[in-house]
């Protein structure tokens, strides 16, 4: 197999895997910080128990995020060294700032939090978790700033055969970042919301400590709903922005081969990428135009026209991303998002009525709902990255140009197999530990959980 394909597989595998843990950290650090603050304010032992119980699951998840994150810092140079030379002047800075600004804070203060229950005053101890929560948002900011440059390069000049930074401010205010950042952060809230909601529901189904898990479940519904609504709302704005920024990604996400005015939205499609058409599709007329322009007419350009335009601009080549992958990952994300909003509303309705424990079916649905944000997060990133193909930096460098020269396909194969093996084993261990500490009776009183 060729080195580009193997390197892409490895980057995709390690990055999607890493991003199983990141959103939960973003959301759960905030939830635990709020729980502990409520304990400090209200002196209600229940909240301390909640902070300890969910904090334990957070730590398991955080450890996985840390160890899989080290790979991220290194693999740009390892597998994408030509890319690293080309954009290092811009791309290295946010990575270094992320480490210096966020990783140090996260790791140091989480260490203090774990070991400081007896050593620190309660308010100071809670403050440590606030710092960790804030640092995880800071971390997301810098890494998304770097990704935003790949999606929508700004603030650079091409000099000495590479992209050089000429405006740090332009990077900070990249329009892509302004939408992507809240989308990802809200996705983190939703992930944590549905995680706590689902695990609480499973415990209620098993008859564990009704009071404790009912309180957790109620707490989680707020996160689940706000997270799902905000990320959906911002996601809609992202789509409206995408039509100008990367029209090809939009066309691929909708499997829209021909330019249409008004454009219909395909719910499902049987996509023939060889022939460049859909053999079968169910389309709602005018809906895509409405989604994009808030109006039932308006032209949405199709893949064929955009391909011709890009050939004219960048020279001969295939500028069409893998259409089926984009189309379906988009639908997985949006579908999961829709289900999340529905499930969160259901949970809020039931907790308001005080009927959440009686309704076994909805508890089961909430338990299964843990998977939804993970599907949405992965689907979203697959669309974001695959939809940018063949570019590694949009309009500036292609993925196959960015790969390392000094690394052979055998070497990448070895590392790919190695990462796949160890990540699989760790996934089993992670789920085992989460189940062990997540599904159990909680001792009452101030006793440690």
């Amino acid at each position: 197999m060729d080195v580009v394909l193997l390197s892409r597989l490895q980057f995709g595998l390690t990055t999607i895997y890493h991003f199983f843990f990141v959103p939960l950290t973003i959301g759960l650090t905030l939830m635990v910080a709020i729980m502990e603050t409520m304990y400090v304010k209200k002196k209600d032992e229940h909240y301390q128990q909640m902070a300890k119980f969910w904090g334990k699951l957070l730590l398991i998840n955080f450890a996985m995020g840390v160890v899989t994150g080290i790979v991220q810092e290194f693999q740009f140079g390892m597998n994408w060294s030509t890319y690293s030379r080309f954009v290092g002047d811009i791309f290295g800075a946010p990575l270094a700032i992320e480490a210096l600004f966020a990783f140090f804070l996260e790791s140091t203060f989480l260490g203090i939090w774990i070991f400081g229950w007896e050593k620190l005053k309660p308010a100071l101890h809670a403050a440590c978790m606030w710092i960790v929560a804030l640092a995880s948002c800071v971390s997301a900011f810098w890494i998304l700033l770097a990704n935003s440059f790949m999606q929508n390069p700004v603030g650079y000049v091409i000099n000495n055969g590479r992209a050089e930074m000429d405006s740090f401010l332009a990077l900070l205010t990249n329009p892509h970042l302004q939408l992507q950042y809240p989308h990802v952060i809200a996705g983190g809230w939703a992930t944590a919301g549905f995680f706590v909601l689902g695990i609480s529901a499973i415990n209620l189904l098993k008859g564990h400590n009704n009071a404790f898990f009912q309180k957790s479940l109620k707490f989680a519904t707020v996160f689940a709903l706000i997270g799902a609504l905000v990320s959906a709302g911002v996601g809609h704005a992202q789509g409206q922005h995408l039509i100008y920024e990367q029209p090809m990604k939009m066309a691929a996400a909708e499997a829209l081969w021909e330019t249409e005015d008004p454009a219909g939205l395909a719910l499902v499609a049987s996509i023939d990428e060889e022939q460049g058409k859909n053999n079968f599709e169910i389309v709602i007329p005018k809906l895509l135009s409405f989604m994009v322009y808030n109006s039932f007419d308006g032209e949405v350009r199709g893949i064929h026209e955009l391909q011709a335009e890009m050939e004219a601009k960048y020279g001969a080549g295939d500028y069409v991303p893998p259409v089926a992958v984009c189309f379906w990952s988009f639908r997985v994300m949006v579908g999961a998002g829709g289900l999340m909003i529905g499930l969160a509303l259901l949970a809020i309705f039931l907790t308001r009525k005080g009927k959440e424990v009686q309704c076994k079916y909805s508890l089961t649905a909430m338990g299964l709902g843990i998977a939804l944000p993970y599907l949405a997060n992965s689907g979203g990133w697959i669309l974001a990255e695959m939809g940018r193909q063949p570019w590694i930096v949009y309009g500036l460098q292609t993925v196959s140009e960015g790969v390392s020269v000094a690394v052979s396909s055998t070497e990448v194969l070895i590392s790919l197999v190695g990462f796949a093996l160890i990540y699989t084993i760790l996934a089993v261990v992670d789920v085992y530990l989460l189940a062990k500490f997540g599904v159990r009776n909680v001792k009452t009183g101030a006793e440690e959980v």
């Binding site: 810092e73 290092g88 270094a96 600004f101 140090f104 740090f168 020269v405 000094a406 070497e411 160890i422």
Partner: protein
């Protein structure tokens, strides 16, 4: 001062911080099977680095990020050239991180022993490979006219670099012993640590002297006054640490080993300067702080960021070390 030089120094500082802090973490991991016999003792040993190890590891991530930001060509050539070595380091660091976090979460001896073995390997292997890597910084590696590494994993493994790997393992083990002697509150552990410190220290001195003499013969070590001075300082500090710990002055001994590791880093960076990666094929093809660096604008931005943030990081990491300065006993186990 030129920003290129400043960033070369700053990356040296980050590496020194990493070697000093993760050095004792690795050392504690390497000593784990030897100084603790029961599960409870193993927990005490692991908990001595409990609140610190993750923050210490960030020094490596920051060093990597800083190389990327300030010297993209250095990052690209080094990380793609040392591909399999880095892959092994990554595997080790992954295993090591989850091992310390997960081992005490299940009350089962097989589970715990498995993670402890992995923690040992995960500490030994990076220590060895970082020694190999640093030795290759000193000798240089085959780099062509396009700044690309033209070799493989075995190009990096020579008698000299393997000796360097051994030196790092021994220095970190010694450093870890001194750390344990300050942090362990369990007498049995301290007695074992004490017995090992002198033995490891003597072997370490022999290995370090052999490595330095070897380096003087085949690398540019002797052409840099700074490197020569740092080498002498490192040797004196290591001897001093050995003598001091024999007199039970463990705090001073640890300070001496910290200084020694700092001096070794100065020796390596002093020998390389102004190169960041020496080409053995043609000196003209070496990567330097000038042909590998970022634009003046990026360096300026990064300088402002680093000058602002590094002191703050030092402050709160220092606070964390101060807060958890007491010896770890069997009553305060979290991991």
């Amino acid at each position: 001062m030129e920003l290129n030089v400043l960033w070369f120094i700053l990356i040296g500082v980050l590496f020194a911080g990493f070697f000093i802090l993760e050095g004792f973490d690795y050392g504690v991991g390497i000593m784990l099977p030897f100084v603790s016999k029961t599960d409870e003792e193993r927990r005490v040993v692991l908990n001595t680095i409990g609140p610190f190890w993750d923050g210490n590891e960030v020094w490596l991530l920051t060093a990597g990020g800083a190389i990327f930001a300030a010297f993209p060509n250095w990052y690209a050539t080094l990380f793609s050239g040392f591909y399999l070595a880095l892959f092994l380091i990554l595997l080790a660091l992954i295993v090591r991180g989850v091992a310390i976090d997960f081992r005490s979460k299940v009350d089962n001896l097989t589970w715990r022993k498995t993670w402890d073995i992995l923690f040992f390997i995960g500490s030994l292997l990076p220590a060895l490979l970082f020694g190999v890597a640093v030795s290759n910084f000193l000798t240089g590696v085959p780099i062509d006219a396009n700044m690309e590494f033209v070799g493989n994993l075995f190009t990096l493994l020579t008698p000299f670099t393997l000796l360097g790997g051994l030196v790092f393992v021994l220095v970190f083990a010694f450093h870890g012993c001194l750390f344990l002697s300050l942090k362990s509150g369990v007498a049995e552990i301290n007695a074992r640590v004490k017995a090992y410190t002198s033995k490891i220290g003597l072997v370490m001195l022999v290995a370090v002297v052999a490595w330095v003499v070897y380096a003087a013969l085949i690398t540019g070590l002797l052409s840099s006054v700074l490197a020569i001075g740092a080498t002498v300082l490192a040797a004196l500090c290591l001897i001093g640490a050995l003598v001091l710990q024999a007199k039970n002055k463990n705090g001073l001994a640890f300070a001496a080993s910290v200084t020694a590791i700092l001096a070794v880093t100065v020796m390596v960076f002093g020998t390389m300067f102004p190169n960041v990666l020496i080409s053995t094929l043609n000196p003209v093809w070496s990567l330097t702080i000038y042909n590998a660096c970022s634009s003046p604008y990026t360096l300026k931005i990064m300088t402002i960021v680093a000058v602002t943030l590094v002191p703050i990081v030092l402050l709160y990491q220092g606070w964390s070390f101060w807060m958890f300065r007491k010896r770890v006993t069997k009553n305060d186990l979290h991991y």
